[in-house]
Amino acid sequence: MIIVKNLVKKYADFKALNGLSFEVNENEIFGLLGPNGAGKTTLIHILATLLKPTEGGAMVNGFDILHNAIKVRQSIGVVFQAPSSDDILTGYENLKVHALLYGIPRKIREKRISEVLQLVGLEDRKDDQVKKYSGGMRRRLEIARGLLHHPKVFFLDEPTLGLDPKSRESMWKYIKKIVREEKVTIILTTHYMEEADMLCDRIGFITNGKIIALDSPSKLKQEIGGDIVKITFSGDVPLDREFTKFDFVHKVERKENTVTVYIDEVNSNLQMLVKDLNGVQTIEYNKPTLNDVFLKLSGDSLSGDSPEGGFMQRYAQYDKS
């Protein structure tokens, strides 16, 4: 559905994208996970034909982003990081303006507008001005707008940025619903690992304009070498204990009075592992998270520190009316 080849985007001396290549399959949810400033939004802007790459190219829905921009735009829906609806207009009016921009024929326009309104649960608020909407509702309106013309590919740039936990969860629910009901391929960017883990079929880790790993969340987590069990002893670690005798143990690390063991399936194997152990003070265990994977791959955590103004910040700045 999307083929990206060797994309480079340079801004003066700074390389926002540094030779990116990957493919996205039809009808999957593909996540681009990385810290702020990793190049996720730049990549979305290039794929949506709003920016031209310095080098390389890409195909979206079989159309070249450089030579067939209009066809690409007909094939995609985009939800930008900052809400881009006109907040003086009502939700319905925003949708109507965009339905006209996409050339949706009059006969099916009204039906389609009420369909997408229903999809995101905004039908009872459609005649309110968007400035009366909450952050989550605005984001849902953007989703409805992006889906109006039945796009094949749907880009979601940080769909839950700045939302409270409850709105975030309901946004996840809507995203899953879209995939089920609209049959689109979704590319979403995020820097929340639990979001990527929960929603995406495959994830590309992106940092400094490069993809450093690409796989399904479970495969990525296997890279860590299994679930982590940390056993602390009250005295010295008993040296006679040979943990590696079990098939499910991958790796053992001993340090002072603790042993860290990497094993498969902690839930079923923990009991066997610690059976007949003497002098145990505490046992802790963790399933590895995508953050552990990212840390291991990049030596850096996901909380980037680039100066990227959130939507609320920008909104406060310009909303002087």
Binding site: L50, L51, Q74, F80, I88, K96, V97, L101, Y102
Partner: protein, 259 residues
């Protein structure tokens, strides 16, 4: 082939309608905009009109009536050119991004936005025209038609001019500052406030370059029958100016960055 052209022109017309509709709805909901921008022309008309009118100028009619066509042009000049700042707002709020990612051409976006700005100027001119009746000015159907055509052309070209500036300038503050340098000369040098027949040579030349001069003259012709040039002469020059500035505007929109 013919079918695809029909289809495409239907889509383009729909897109123009969408962009126009949005501007008009926003304008009608922001009443303060209408009130604020109508106040200034009326202030000029009554304060300067009555003030200078009391000094017995040799211009062949009341001074208030004499500057009335100029005040119509003034309200068009100010509203239209400053309308360009809305493209900067659209960029800041990312509305423009959502339009740019739709399958519409930049030319369509430019023309649609211009038509929207033109319509908002028309609302204002209507108010000024109604005030004119109170001054004792009578319009017949022909006069109204001529006023309408001049106002449409002038506001279309000056909205284009404003949007052209807006496509190059990133901050609203910068826009206000730069556009002030354009708007005030356009107005003061147009002969809106004085007759241009007996000016010193240097001033005469500048007024001849100012496109607004021809709109003031055309309106003075049709409303007061006091024009320096013929209506057709004025109309031709205005159309030429509109063509040039529209092409410049389309060029500017095409090279404008989307993000």
């Amino acid at each position: 082939m013919l079918n695809t052209i029909n289809l495409n022109s239907r889509i383009v017309l729909g897109q123009l309608y969408a962009l126009w509709l949005r501007e008009v709805k926003v304008f009608l909901r922001e009443r303060s905009r209408l009130v604020a921008s109508t106040f200034t022309p009326l202030l000029w008309l009554f304060v300067i009109g009555s003030g200078l009118g009391s000094t017995n100028l040799q211009i062949g009619t009341d001074y208030e009536k004499f500057i009335f066509p100029g005040i119509i042009c003034m309200s068009v000049i100010f509203t239209s050119v400053f309308f360009g700042s809305y493209i900067i707002w659209d960029r800041k709020f990312d509305f423009l991004k959502s339009v740019m990612v739709a399958p519409s051409s930049r030319t369509t976006v430019f023309i649609g936005k211009t038509l929207g700005g033109m319509t908002t100027s028309l609302f204002q001119v209507a108010i000024v025209l109604i005030v004119g009746i109170a001054l004792g000015i009578n319009y017949d159907a022909m006069t109204l038609l001529q006023i309408l055509s001049i106002v449409l052309i002038l506001s279309f070209s000056l909205t284009s001019l404003g949007l052209t500036f807006g496509s190059y300038i990133e901050s609203l503050e910068g826009f206000q500052l730069i556009v002030s340098f354009v708007v005030f000369p356009l107005f003061f040098l147009s002969g809106a406030l004085f007759p241009i027949d007996n000016l010193p040579a240097w001033l005469k030349i500048i007024t001849l370059i100012d496109p607004a001069t021809y709109s003031v003259d055309a309106l003075r012709n049709t409303i007061l029958h006091l024009g320096t040039y013929s209506f057709e002469h004025d109309l031709a020059i205005l159309l030429l100016f509109t063509l040039v500035i529209t092409l410049v505007g389309i060029f500017s929109f095409r090279r404008m960055k989307a993000v």
